[in-house]
């Protein structure tokens, strides 16, 4: 075990994957010699050579198209999109190509070895274009998996599992935690199973669900709520697609209440999917409406970032409202 931050954890996972399998290749803008704008790919080119870790021209659609073909050929590409805000030029490749590759060919061809890494989320004074949380778009794309770690331990274990998983995985890294989140991480190889949520804390009055950097927000709100005598069950969803509906529903059937927190705009965000499934499965157990605490339905603002964010205070207030319904 060693204390490391999330960037180091990501880097460790990449090193292990590249050591283990020479078909693992890392590509993206500035990922080469420089090691990426966040340094997540530091030293990979130096260690594994330019053929296995290389800069690409600035064309996200090209990067994902290239990586999809590379995966189909039998390699294991790990493509980086510099910011999730810049993944949209590749949206067509992802939805129409990557995600449908195996299905449309009757299983003859597959790009399942592909992993796409991308930093996302706000809280770093990034304004419109360095803050977005686009996970809900990808949740509506059958054929891919969407994974979001919330600490260094998860980051390493999930990234290794994603790279080895035989499905295209979008691995979204909450960049606010890159250096902020530090924790003990095993130095060796390990995997965390994809598709599993994690119960962080048991509780009886309300279930709180979040993912990525927002997990610490609901934890903070829970502390405030506990002071008011409200017992919160806290779930880190970890995977957005497929997501662990069973664990969330089981929890809500016990607590009778659910709050979901995400940074993305509220309308048609992923909280809506969770709500819909849970109200279906736990209808008779629900004691109050399922509650969302989300970003506003605006572009991500720069000067008003603090006001925009679904922070612990908004979450705390919503817990109180939900419990007092």
């Amino acid at each position: 075990m060693a204390a490391m931050n999330m960037l180091q954890a990501v880097n460790h996972a990449l090193v292990l994957a590249m050591e283990e399998n020479e078909r693992v290749m890392v590509l993206g803008e500035d990922v080469g010699h420089f090691g990426g704008v966040f340094r997540a790919t530091s030293n990979l080119q130096q260690t594994f050579g330019k053929a296995r870790c290389f800069n690409t021209p600035i064309t996200e659609q090209g990067i994902i198209g290239f990586a999809t073909g590379l995966a189909a050929q039998g390699s294991t590409p790990v493509a980086e999109i510099q910011f999730a805000d810049y993944i949209f030029p590749a949206f067509d490749q992802i939805i129409n190509e990557t995600a449908k590759f195996r299905y449309r060919s009757g299983g003859q061809f597959s790009c399942g070895s592909l992993t796409i890494r991308t930093p996302f989320g706000g809280g770093i004074a990034g304004g419109h274009y360095h803050s977005q949380s686009p996970e809900a778009f990808f949740a509506h794309i059958p054929g891919i998996k969407v994974v979001i770690p919330s600490n260094p331990y998860q980051a390493k274990g999930l990234l290794l599992a994603s790279i080895r998983d035989d499905n295209p995985v979008l691995f979204m890294e909450p960049k606010r935690l890159y250096r902020a989140s530090v924790g003990e991480v095993p130095e060796g190889d390990y995997e965390l199973e994809l598709g599993k949520a994690k119960i962080i804390k048991k509780g009886t009055d309300i279930t709180l669900v979040a993912w990525g950097a927002q997990v610490e927000i609901i934890e903070k709100a829970a502390v405030m709520a506990e002071e008011q005598g409200i017992s919160c069950e806290i779930i880190d969803l970890v995977c957005i697609l497929p997501w662990d509906a069973e664990k969330v529903c089981r929890s809500v059937c016990n607590t009778g209440r659910l709050l979901i927190n995400h940074e993305a705009p509220e309308t048609a965000g992923f909280a809506a999917e969770i709500t819909t499934k849970v109200q279906q499965e736990c209808f008779l157990n629900l004691e109050s409406p399922i509650c969302r605490v989300c970003g506003l339905d605006t572009p991500f603002p720069f000067a008003h970032e603090k006001e925009y964010m679904p922070d612990h205070l908004k979450t705390f207030e919503a817990i109180i409202r939900t419990v007092n319904f």
């Binding site: 078909r23 290749m25 053929a51 296995r52 290389f54 690409t56 021209p57 064309t59 659609q61 090209g62 990067i63 994902i64 198209g65 290239f66 990586a67 999809t68 073909g69 590379l70 995966a71 189909a72 050929q73 039998g74 390699s75 590409p77 030029p89 067509d92 490749q93 129409n96 190509e97 449908k100 195996r102 299905y103 449309r104 060919s105 009757g106 299983g107 003859q108 061809f109 597959s110 399942g112 059958p142 054929g143 998996k145 035989d166 499905n167 598709g195 497929p242 509906a245 069973e246």
Partner: protein
């Protein structure tokens, strides 16, 4: 870290001059005259009799298949078809220059390349009728062929997407040390997509052994090429990317064959991309959903009918003394029967069972897909008459 100077190779000039349109004259390479005679300057050419015969035979095969299936669509037996009439030389001539280990990534009008590789008539029919024997399990519209065994990537409809994929595929071949290249076909219309730009540029920078083969057939559905681009075609774009480029007469099977042979050699030996632009004409309608008479005059079509690549290549074969007319006649006769028989067989094969609806979305179906399938099966069982194609086999 080394000092670099990104302007060191660029000269300078102190007289103002603007680079005008079509600065670079890129003539198209052709070997056969329209009558099938070799051009005077040309002495010999690198093709053996068997290959030439197979090219000709495949061209005939595809012409028959196309005609029959356009008719089958009119009869309502299949929902959609798309012919390559007039472009057989470009497609088949290039496919003939490849080896079986080379990956083919096509747009949708390259059934000739697939036939050349050995896709059987029955396999064509199974795809066109989307039955359960179809290699892609009937999941896509007719003409979206694919065959892992033949290294022919399953076709997808979105234009241009296969271009950066081909670059990546070729990069993988290189990394794996395979003595193989990837060929990527597309139309001059698809070359307007952003994916074309990303794909060619990446291939050039990352030295991918890929042949980009553009069929410039003058039209993209109803849009004539002068409303598609203002340059002189697609070849001139190669210069900008630093990609080695060839323009070829796409109705001259021999020239296409020779050009692709050289392109393959360069791609493999120099591990670098090559762009080929084949100048041809889409004699067919865009697809069975299209009627070109509203956007181009019949006389224009006739002009190109006279440039029929099959006639031209046959004439050359004849002059070579390589044409076996009886064999061709027999082959044509036999193919027609075979196509009809395979068609009849394919249309009577059931579509895949309903379990297949959730397979291959992922390597194994996650919980929500399993749930959806089980609900669906319960539902079908309740209304079997309404879902006659799958209800018998729940």
């Amino acid at each position: 870290m080394k000092n670099r100077n990104h302007v060191s190779k660029i000269g300078s000039s102190h007289i103002f001059k603007i680079i005008e349109n079509a600065l670079t004259d890129i003539p198209m390479f052709s070997l056969l005259q329209e009558n099938g005679c070799l051009h005077a300057e040309v002495s010999d050419c690198e093709i053996n009799k068997n290959t030439a015969a197979k090219i000709l035979q495949t061209m005939h095969y595809i012409r028959i298949l196309d005609e029959r299936m356009v008719a089958a669509q009119r009869q309502g037996r299949i929902s959609f078809y798309l012919a390559c009439t007039g472009e057989e030389a470009a497609i088949i001539g290039s496919a003939a220059a490849l080896l079986p280990q080379d990956m083919i990534m096509s747009q949708y009008r390259e059934q000739g390349a697939l036939a050349y590789r050995g896709f059987s008539t029955q396999e064509f029919m199974d795809q066109l009728f989307s039955n359960q024997r179809e290699l892609n399990k009937g999941r896509q519209m007719p003409i979206h062929y694919g065959s892992k065994a033949l290294n022919f990537m399953t076709i997808s409809s979105p234009l241009g997407t296969q271009i950066p994929q081909a670059s990546g595929y070729a990069y993988g071949q290189k990394m794996a040390g395979e003595p193989a290249v990837t060929i990527c076909y597309f139309g001059e219309g698809a070359a307007s997509e952003g994916d074309f730009h990303g794909g060619l540029n990446m291939a050039a920078v990352l030295n991918c052994p890929v042949i980009f083969f553009c069929r410039n057939n003058g039209y993209a559905i109803s849009t004539p090429s002068e409303e598609q681009f203002a340059g002189d075609g697609i070849a001139s774009r190669g210069i900008g990317y630093g990609v080695k480029t060839i323009r070829v007469d796409g109705n001259d099977a021999l020239a296409v064959y020779v050009a692709t042979l050289k392109a393959r050699e360069i791609a493999l030996q120099k591990q670098s991309p090559v762009l080929i632009e084949a100048m041809t004409y889409r004699l067919a309608a865009h697809s069975t959903s299209d009627d070109p008479s509203s956007y181009r005059p019949k006389e224009e079509e006739s002009l190109w009918k006279h440039r029929d690549p099959i006639v031209r290549f046959s004439n050359w074969m004849k002059q070579k003394g390589w044409l076996d007319e009886t064999a061709i006649a027999n082959f044509t006769e036999h193919t027609k029967e075979q196509v009809l028989a395979a068609l009849k067989e394919a249309e009577n094969v059931a579509i895949s069972g309903i379990d297949e609806i959730i397979e291959d979305v992922y390597d194994t179906p996650p919980w929500h897909l399993k749930q959806q399938l089980s609900d669906l099966k319960t539902h079908i069982a309740k209304y079997p008459k309404h879902y006659p194609r799958t209800s018998g086999r729940l």
